[in-house]
């Protein structure tokens, strides 16, 4: 019989091996699914995981990986602070939307003036928008003890409706004869976040890398990082260590909201270009998978975001080259989280084989 035995301390080996094993298991099971759909499993796996990086058109796909991964990294880094401390901000998608709306609104207000100050102002507005939206669940939790999971998630739907009303009303392009959507910020030189479009480089990519370094130093070298980790592991011990739990909640919510807001701003001023009803593409939710897949570690998150981006880009290639249904790609991405959670058992439990029938 197989028995699970709780480890006294999480296994160091499996902490790092579990995500890798999860990726391998996902590839194997994904290959089985693709084979069942009538596709060659090896070709499909190669198309998804290899072609974007090394095929003949990789000069186009590599920059696209940066574009796709940057918002995931930014948001996931922010979330990792809270997740480590036991603060569950599930509403990054909403904060992402608010960041985009506030940042774009500032940019559009200056249209068509050109000035080097416009983009920095937009960045500040975007960060502030995301921060403020995250403060709602944060303050409600600290003041009234509400559940931040529910409040932050519900605020995503509020944000989506706000986005729709902005695209149809206040921020609508006045030259579009009744059609929804704002002016294209990517075509407004003072407001665009592009540094080099062909190379996939925009300010979001730069900020994502800065965020990784900043988070790494804070979490491993700074007293605040220690407090965050301590609060997650043992809230009681944290209190004795002088951590103000309310303040910690607000700071964690603030960091994740700010970074999500920044991600939204960089996206709307670059790859997306405009505020439209469907502007948000689920980065805020995917980032939750990325954060856990990356073990809440900044470098891990960087790698995990790269992997997620790969499945998106490779998935699209597989769709049009191999006629793989879109749902099969979503199954693959879902499997990744599923296997990670399943394999995680190994981190915390030891598998023991015992004799049968012993009661």
């Amino acid at each position: 019989m197989i028995r699970l035995e709780k480890r006294t301390a999480p296994s160091r080996f499996w902490t790092y091996a579990a995500p890798l094993l999860a990726v391998v298991l996902t590839m194997v099971c994904g290959a089985l699914v693709f084979a069942a759909l009538g596709n060659d499993p090896f070709v499909t796996i190669r198309t998804i995981f290899w072609d974007p990086l090394f095929s003949e058109f990789s000069w186009y796909y590599r920059p696209q990986l940066l574009i796709k991964a940057a918002p995931l990294v930014l948001i996931a880094i922010g979330l990792s602070f809270g997740f480590r401390a036991g603060v569950w901000n599930i509403g990054a998608e909403g904060q992402y939307i608010l960041g985009a709306i506030c940042g774009a609104a500032v940019g559009l207000a200056f249209y068509p003036t050109e000035s080097p100050f416009i983009f920095p102002l937009m960045v500040m507005a975007g960060a502030l928008g995301g921060w403020a939206w995250a403060m709602i669940p944060g303050v409600l939790r600290v003041r009234f003890g509400t559940n931040e999971i529910l409040v932050s998630l519900m605020l995503v739907y509020v944000a989506q409706n706000l986005l729709a009303s902005m695209a149809l009303g206040a921020l609508r392009n006045p030259d579009a004869s009744g059609f929804p959507g704002s002016r294209n910020l990517a075509r407004y030189p003072s407001a665009t976040s592009w540094i080099n479009e062909g190379a996939g480089l925009h300010w979001g990519v730069v900020f994502a890398l800065i965020a990784v370094i900043f988070a790494y130093i804070t979490l491993s070298r700074h007293i605040f990082g220690f407090h965050v980790r301590l609060s997650g592991q043992s809230p009681r011990a944290a209190r004795f260590a002088g951590v103000n739990p309310g303040l910690l909640v607000l700071i964690c919510m603030g960091i994740s909201g700010t970074l999500a807001g920044l991600a939204g701003l960089f996206e709307v001023a670059g790859p997306s270009g405009l505020i439209s009803i469907d502007f948000n593409a689920g980065y805020g939710f995917t980032a939750i998978i990325v954060a856990f897949l990356g073990r809440l570690h900044p470098v891990g998150i960087l790698l995990a975001a790269g992997l997620m981006a790969l499945t998106y880009i490779g998935g699209e290639i597989a769709q049009s080259n191999l006629r793989l249904p879109a749902a099969a790609i979503q199954v693959l991405q879902g499997m990744l989280l599923f296997f990670l959670l399943a394999v995680d058992v190994l981190t915390h439990y030891r598998i023991r084989l015992t004799a049968r029938g012993v009661a």
Partner: protein, 357 residues
């Protein structure tokens, strides 16, 4: 910018290099907003794609990507099709407009066709169907089928194309039933069976016994079927699996002839950027079978209206028509211009509620 041009240049060179292998084969790409099995909008576009394959046989290869979000991802999907060697690409939803224009700018040798939008370029044509002609028939039938005098309408996005449909259906429902009222729910999606079903249920709970939809799935049909005594119309596709009741008729989009003609033009080298807006007379819009659930005299008058539209004798937007705010839109006998229709952002008199702004 220079680097970008350089990259695009290499892109074209590569695309041409790979295209040279399959010189005799024309590749046609399709970008879909929903899954090909949605039973509505995307399903009909995919039927058009299959018709292209059947018509040209080995001379043409088609590729498609389904469920492409109408955001930044669309641009990559379209570019990816170009890299694969597509010569002609149909982007089949309004939200792909800017993405299509952006990609077209980078690949001037590839032809693009964007459905339901308004931006064109030397290598970007636009095409759309006059769905409002079909809506007139639906309104005509709906106004006479409703007993509660409440017609529910599931709107997708408040864009001119959808508002045309609401106005057209309402005008023709009022014409036959002065007491009829419309309740409009905005779903903010083209395809989301859960949201669409929810919208239908809300409308039915508000007393609607006829549901019109401008979304792509069959979920509202199923919701109406579950409710029992609610009438529906197939949208974009026949949706005949719900006939004879609740689905009593339908608007069918037939893209096949257009897709075949445009592919032929690319093969012949005669392709030009055009603006196509066809309806019932040209066959791009047709009306699905009106079932026996509709009284014979209603069916007869509906068919007379179809015939009049097909013959060009009747335009669904013929004055006198007044806007919701009471101002005059069309004088007696005046017919709406295409420009007016393409930018339509107001309700006609009698409709309640506001268009979300």
């Amino acid at each position: 910018m220079k680097f970008k041009k350089l990259l695009a240049g290499t892109g074209i060179a590569l695309a041409l290099a790979t295209g040279a292998f399959a010189q005799d084969k024309t590749t046609v790409g399709f970008v879909y907003v929903g899954p090909v099995g949605d039973g509505g909008w995307t399903y009909e576009h995919d039927k058009g794609r299959q018709a292209v394959e059947a018509h040209f046989g080995d001379a043409v290869e088609t590729v498609f990507v389904e469920s492409v979000p109408e955001g930044p991802d669309a641009e990559r999907v379209i570019t990816q099709m170009v890299l694969q060697g597509a010569d002609l690409i149909f982007t089949t939803s309004f939200g792909y407009m800017d993405a299509t224009i952006n990609v077209a700018e980078r690949f001037p040798d590839v032809k693009f066709e964007h459905a339901t939008g308004y931006k064109t370029a030397d290598n970007v044509a636009i095409y759309n169907a006059r769905f409002y002609e079909g809506r007139a028939i639906q309104g005509h039938i709906a106004g006479q089928m409703t007993e509660s005098n409440i017609v529910g309408y599931i709107g997708s996005y408040p864009i001119p194309e959808v508002i045309q449909g609401i106005n057209s259906a309402f005008i023709h429902a009022r014409e036959v039933n002065p007491d009829v009222e419309f309740r409009v729910v905005w779903a903010y999606t083209w395809f989301d069976p859960a949201k669409e079903a929810e919208a239908a249920t809300v409308l039915i709970e508000q007393g609607a016994d006829v549901i019109l939809q401008h979304t792509d799935s069959t979920a509202p049909q199923a919701a109406a079927q579950a409710a029992g005594n609610v009438v529906t119309f197939g949208q974009a596709s026949d949706m005949s699996e719900f006939a004879p009741f609740p689905r009593v008729s339908s608007i069918i989009d037939d893209w096949a002839p257009y897709y075949i003609a445009r592919t032929q033009a690319v093969i012949d080298g005669t392709w030009e950027s055009t603006d196509t807006w066809d309806g019932i007379p040209e066959g791009m819009v047709s009306i699905g079978e009106i079932t026996e659930a509709v009284p014979a005299e209603v069916k007869a008058s509906a068919e007379a209206m179809i015939a009049a539209i097909r013959a060009g004798e009747y335009h669904p937007f013929t004055g006198p028509l007044t806007r919701q705010d009471g101002s005059v839109w069309l004088a007696d006998g005046e017919v709406a211009s295409d420009g007016d229709l393409l930018g339509m952002n107001f309700y006609v008199e009698g409709l309640t509620g506001d268009i979300p702004q």
